[in-house]
């Protein structure tokens, strides 16, 4: 058998449901943990599925993000954005930018925001509870919550949501395979932020954008384009993912009603429930952003040559039985694990602590305000936006 015949064609077949990854990943993890793959354009790479290997690829600097720019696996909107941003850099360049923003997202700083987030959750859900049923949770809760939080943190007027949300959606999608559309959305966001940054320069405020402008002024620690890219990257990353994770958490909890009942009866389980749901839920179906090897690397007995495109499957790694006993079972009382829901290494999700806190408060709020919540339509009638890199619901009708 030639290498070409043996290589696995990507993308993998879609998962049979939104609650579990495609069974092909379990087969790969068991039998071909470092599998040679072919991309739709015919080029080749590697797909890594075991927890230990995925974690190594994400942390080990021999797997470079910068070297992956323009590779065959980089045709999604987010990968195009990534190429021009902090997500497409390696240390030490990456560290130069990350250290400027990381301080705003540490566990300590995020805790300071918690009371405001709790109050916002209460306001939104009081409004939801007063509406005629069914209510679209996307419009009235899961989207406005993270949008308002990241807007306030960054210093973006939340009333501009209608302006930037469509651009954000385009960037998080494959834009029907039209990179020009993605570049146009990126251009629009860059113009939008260019104007906001000019306003902040004139009238500084107590927000992250003003702090980054000061960092640019002080010792020229980032370029104007890096400043703009960082701001719109934070805005996009800060809401689409969290909004849809709230939706996926709720769908998953209601799909496993005995676990939902357990959480409702023991709300003190919320922090570990969030970690277990981060492990269990596949926000995205596909693999993470591609890396390229800077030298030959051995993984699980397979030698990946230098210059090879390497993809990691967080979904496969988070269901690795050698790390998580009974991995395909949702167990909200599972001891807190080092899941890979936020990635690992230099590019570990910058907003992980903020997302954790928002998800905890969202779950607590839903249990408090709408304990008898249920989805108003069967799974088959859930409408996901097409071509998105995260599972993104058009609407989530709920009732109680």
């Amino acid at each position: 058998m030639t290498l070409q015949d043996d290589a696995l064609a990507l993308p993998l077949p879609p998962a049979p449901s939104i609650y579990h990854p495609t069974p092909r990943l379990a087969e790969l993890r068991a039998n071909r943990p470092v599998a040679e793959v072919t991309f739709p354009d015919g080029s080749t790479g590697w797909l890594v599925t075991r927890y230990a290997d995925v974690r190594q690829v994400l942390i080990d600097p021999r797997f470079s993000r910068a070297a992956a720019a323009g590779s065959a696996a980089s045709d999604t909107g987010i990968a195009l954005v990534a190429t021009d941003s902090i997500l497409g850099m390696d240390p030490p360049e990456h560290t130069r930018l990350r250290r400027l923003v990381a301080g705003a997202f540490t566990a300590r700083r995020v805790e300071e925001l918690r009371p405001k987030v709790t109050a916002l959750v209460d306001t939104l859900l009081t409004d939801v509870a007063a509406r005629p049923r069914p209510v679209d949770l996307v419009e009235h809760f899961s989207l406005p919550l993270p949008v308002r939080v990241i807007c306030e943190l960054l210093g973006v007027p939340p009333e501009d949501q209608h302006v930037f949300h469509a651009w954000s959606d385009t960037i998080m999608s494959d834009a029907g395979g039209d990179p020009a559309e993605i570049r146009a959305a990126m251009g629009n966001l860059a113009v939008y932020f260019g104007k906001l940054i000019a306003d902040k320069r004139a009238t500084p405020a107590d927000d992250l954008m003003t702090a980054l402008i000061a960092a640019r002024g002080n010792q020229d620690r980032l370029t104007e384009q890096e400043l703009v890219n960082l701001c719109f990257g934070l805005l996009i990353a800060g809401h689409e993912t969290t909004a849809n994770q709230i939706n996926m958490f709720l769908l998953t909890l209601l799909h496993f009603p005995e676990e939902y009942a357990r959480l409702a009866g023991s709300p003190e389980l919320v922090p570990q429930a969030v970690e277990e749901l981060m492990r269990f839920v596949q926000l995205g179906e596909g693999a993470g952003l591609p890396r390229v090897t800077t030298e030959a690397v051995d993984l699980s007995g397979v030698t990946i040559p230098a210059g090879a495109v390497v993809l990691t499957s967080m979904a496969a790694a988070n269901r690795d039985e050698s790390v998580f006993a009974d991995a395909d079972r949702l167990d909200l009382s599972r001891e807190i694990t080092q899941h890979l829901g936020f990635g690992a290494g230099a590019h570990h999700c910058l907003g992980a602590q903020l997302a954790r806190m928002e998800l905890q408060e969202a779950l607590r709020g839903l249990l408090r305000h709408l304990p008898d919540l249920r989805i108003a339509v069967p799974d088959a009638e859930l409408r996901f936006k097409t071509g998105m890199i995260v599972r993104s619901l058009q609407s989530l009708p709920v009732t109680w």
Partner: protein, 72 residues
Amino acid sequence: MWNVAVSPACIGSGVCAGSAPGHFAIGADGRSHPPATPVDPDDAILGAAASCPMEAITVTDADTGTHVDPFI
């Protein structure tokens, strides 16, 4: 020389091991540890400390004990 320490607040994100690979490594316990300390001053260590989501990394001057990390 600098003393480098990682507190038990570490969640094993691997941000430090990814950004300053010679100075931090993830141990079998899933947490980050400095392979050697004290070490020669290196800005990558301060970059890793500033990037830690848990503010778990402390860097001090080995002679004076003065903090050189960003969280003083």
